[in-house]
């Protein structure tokens, strides 16, 4: 069995290395991926179309907005599936295992975290809001926000974190994020454009068509951020306690 497993691995490896000599020159600007009209269009026209300096954000939330919307839905569904799989499944008796000890949360750790968590959360908001100009955006900001709650859960215990962010909020917030995303898309559809064609929002807001896309992208990123925050925390809370939501890691 051990030797047998090398056969598919070697076959795949030989095929891939054989194909590797047909790859374009390393770092060449004439490579097919870089020369394709799509990416050239994105680089050349993002500034004119949306006035967003960070092309990655513009492509993520505007040009490929439909894709990103369903990626967010996938994250949401995965979070809900974890909730459904682990709900009412764990050991009910809460037997203490040999490595579990009763200990107070450490003073130094809790005080450091008390100072650190607000900074992390402000940084998360900064990353979310400044994603148009610098690296960042909804996914990164949401993950940072979720990580700040996980940090609270790690340094105190899960109950303390769940008081600040109850688990039924995560379902609501996750759904709300997707509704915000789809709502902006539907609003632009009702205003006469296509689904997720944000420039139509200029009809109801006092901005130019380009700046309407700029600001609608921020709304979309907030939606993504809400969903990712909620799902990341719910993933941790469920996985560390087998769905019991008490006495976790």
């Amino acid at each position: 069995m051990k030797l047998l497993s090398y056969i598919p691995v070697l076959v795949v490896g030989v095929l891939l290395l054989y194909a590797a000599k047909d790859f374009p020159e390393w770092g060449s600007p004439d490579a097919p991926a870089s020369k394709s009209p799509v990416s050239s269009h994105f680089i050349a026209n993002t500034g004119v179309d949306t006035e967003v300096p960070n092309m990655v954000t513009a492509v993520l939330a505007d040009y490929r907005g439909f894709d990103t919307m369903f990626e967010t839905v996938v994250v949401f569904i995965a979070g809900m599936a974890v909730l459904a799989i682990l709900k009412n499944s764990g050991r009910k008796k809460l037997v203490k295992r040999e490595f579990e000890v009763d200990a107070e949360p450490d003073l130094i750790v809790t005080n450091t975290v008390r100072l650190l968590v607000p900074v992390i959360q402000i940084f998360a908001f900064y990353v979310l809001a400044h994603g148009h100009v610098s690296p960042g955006g909804g996914f990164q900001g949401g993950v940072l926000m979720g990580a700040s709650f996980i940090l609270v859960a790690l340094s105190w215990d899960l109950e303390t974190a769940l008081i600040r962010f109850p688990l039924n909020w995560t379902t609501i917030l996750g759904g709300l994020g997707i509704f915000l995303y789809a709502g902006i898309g539907l609003l632009s559809m009702f205003l006469g454009g296509e689904f997720l064609d944000y420039s139509e929002l200029a009809n109801i807001f006092p901005v130019s068509r380009e700046m309407a896309r700029y600001h609608a992208m921020l709304g979309v990123e907030i939606g993504v951020g809400l969903t990712v925050t909620a799902i990341m925390f719910s993933l941790y809370a469920n996985l560390s306690t087998e769905g019991r939501l008490q006495r976790g890691l």
Binding site: F139, V143, L239, S240, E242
Partner: protein
């Protein structure tokens, strides 16, 4: 040349980290080495100009997925047979 050397160094370290993460029998060590692997990957992407991908990998790959792995191993057995 300096950047190419940096690139080569990280690529070789990546292979070492990947092999080590799959070699160790303690799953906790494996997940921590996997975090190192993710962070090396993040450095590589920052060097290749993919700053957004590097940021995402640093928060998600090195942060959340390690925490989630360790949270699972806390509820399972820590030793692995291979």
């Amino acid at each position: 040349m300096g950047l190419a050397l940096f690139n080569t160094f990280i690529l070789l370290l990546l292979v070492v980290a990947a092999l080590l993460a799959l070699r160790v029998k303690d799953l906790l060590t494996a997940s921590v080495v996997f975090a190192v692997y993710s962070f090396l990957m993040c450095l590589l992407w920052a060097e290749m100009g993919a700053v957004d991908v590097a940021f995402t990998e640093a928060t998600v790959g090195a942060g959340i997925s390690t925490v989630v792995l360790i949270a699972t191993i806390f509820n399972l057995k820590r030793k692995s047979s291979d």
